[in-house]
């Protein structure tokens, strides 16, 4: 029997408050991610979903408990977080800041990442000349180019229209199948979470209010009865976590 590999990320009794004078956002949260898993975090607004990602990548530190993350981690932001004065290619190359590879190699790899996301011809375009979906693809290419072991997605589809979201969800699903990466995604859309994740963590009232295991074969369809049932179950958990 193959020995189980250690988790790629683990939260151990983590509590967090933005300031000592402010109320605690998270209370004793514990969970871990298996390597090559896809986990989604859903829950009511203000429930601490994005805080979990910020803690996971070290942007914030827990006020109590520990976060263990030894994986090379990258993050895709809600807005794309592109710098408007840099071209798509230059934005992607920002990802080499902590591991410079030289101009030629960085150009080659950045072009390859843009090509992988289907936007190679927009390499020299500035963000203002890209659609919302294209910007988000640049954001994903920027995260991808560093070959991360753990990919964090913070509401990656929330600023996009339905059609663009559907295409980008397919793209993320393909990356999950093809790359040796673990995904942790915060989403306000239960449907997106059911399509993409193996496990859904419902966050509310400062903790994990429930988990939903998604054991539907991939690729998944939004109108699959099992997917609809699991989405309804997750929504029920969120409803209870909101009270």
């Amino acid at each position: 029997m193959e020995p189980s590999r250690p988790p790629i990320l683990s939260f151990n009794d983590v509590s967090f408050a933005y300031d000592r004078s402010l109320p605690t956002v998270l209370h004793d949260v514990s969970f871990s991610l298996k390597p090559r898993s896809f986990t989604a975090i859903v829950g009511p607004s203000g429930g601490g979903k994005s805080t979990l990602l910020r803690l996971a990548i070290g942007l914030d530190r827990p006020t109590r408990g520990t976060v263990v993350n030894a994986a090379r981690t990258r993050m895709v932001f809600q807005s794309g977080a592109l710098l408007p004065w840099l071209t798509a290619l230059e934005n992607v190359k920002l990802a080499f800041a902590d591991q410079p590879k030289g101009e030629a190699a960085e150009n080659r790899e950045a072009h390859a990442a843009l090509a992988e996301l289907g936007i190679r011809e927009f390499a020299d375009a500035y963000p203002r000349n890209l659609s919302g979906g294209q910007r988000q693809r640049v954001g994903i290419a920027r995260a991808l180019v560093a070959a991360p072991e753990l990919m964090l997605l913070d509401e990656p589809f929330s600023a996009l229209d339905t059609e663009t979201t559907a295409r980008l969800v397919e793209e993320v699903e393909r990356l999950y199948r093809e790359k040796n990466m673990t995904f942790l995604m915060v989403s306000h859309s239960i449907e997106d979470a059911v399509i993409l994740a193996d496990e859904i963590l419902v966050v509310g009232n400062g903790g994990i209010a429930g988990t939903v295991a998604v054991e539907i074969p991939r690729p998944r369809r939004r109108d699959d009865p099992m997917a609809l049932r699991l989405a309804a179950h997750a929504k029920d958990l969120i409803g209870r976590a909101s009270h």
Binding site: P84, A97, Q99
Partner: protein
């Protein structure tokens, strides 16, 4: 050339109007100069006297150059000190809570009220030029500092986080994210600050009006002191010539310096 479509940018908000080079030249230089000169001529009932004008033209241009150098020196100092002051205040909530009230008070100080003391200080050090530069510097400084603070607040949280997530050092976050993001607000602050600076130049060069009687502080050579003294002595031809030169210069700077920079700043704005 005249029909080439261009844009006129206003630093008040994000207005951008399609226009032509000819139109921009007419509204940006010819009309403002004509308006100011016409108003000046009517009020003073004086017209340019060609005989004295040719004699004084070289002096006027040199005086304008001297005033502009003072203004530029003060502006450069204000940028060098004002931006770090703004960055310092935004280092943390604690820094902000201590420094912001201090900056608020400093910004509100009527610097002209302290001019006699400033003159005395620089008189003692033998560098009267410093008094004028300091006055202009102090006026521009707070516009720059507060624009820096406001500009930092405009950087989206995601963008700030991205810099840290991608492992940019503090220095590279400053040079690759913060300073480029500050370009549009600092440009607006520069336009407003230099406009305020021109106001102070006029006063700061006329040292005799502010210095104690026994200090023997002579006026500084510049367009400001020429304007004030021409007015005091009733030399309306000189007054109008100096005014005209000043307005033409300000209009040219707007057209050929601020306009291209405002157009460039569009690329540095977050949507």
């Amino acid at each position: 050339m005249a029909l080439k479509r261009v844009h006129y940018y206003s630093h008040h908000g994000r207005h951008k109007h399609p226009t032509t080079v000819l139109h921009r030249f007419a509204t940006g230089i010819v009309l403002p100069v004509a308006l100011v000169m016409a108003a000046g001529a009517i009020v003073t009932t004086a017209w340019l006297a060609p005989a004295t004008y040719t004699v004084q033209a070289g002096t006027l241009v040199a005086a304008l150059g001297a005033s502009m150098l003072r203004l530029l020196a003060a502006y450069a100092l204000a940028l060098l000190i004002g931006v770090p002051l703004g960055l310092l205040a935004e280092r943390s909530r604690r820094f902000e809570s201590v420094l912001l009230p201090i900056y608020d008070v400093m910004e509100s100080l009527p610097v002209l009220a302290f001019f006699p003391i400033i003159i005395l200080f620089f008189l003692d050090s033998g560098l009267l030029e410093g008094a004028a530069v300091f006055m202009i510097f102090f006026t521009i400084l707070w516009t720059i500092s507060f624009s820096t603070i406001g500009g930092i607040h405009q950087i989206p949280e995601d963008v700030r986080s991205a810099g840290r997530v991608f492992g940019l050092s503090a220095w590279r976050r400053l040079t690759r994210i913060t300073l480029p993001a500050l370009f549009p607000p600092l440009l607006t602050a520069s336009i407003l600050g230099i406009a305020d600076g021109w106001n102070i130049v006029i006063v700061a060069e006329t040292l005799h009006a502010y210095a104690p009687v026994n200090s023997h502080a002579a006026d500084l050579f510049g367009i400001g002191s020429i304007l004030v003294n021409a007015s005091t002595n009733g030399n309306n031809a000189l007054l109008l010539s100096a005014m005209g030169l000043l307005v033409v210069t300000i209009a040219i700077v707007n057209l050929f310096v601020w306009q291209p920079l405002l157009a460039r700043a569009e690329r540095f704005k977050f949507e």
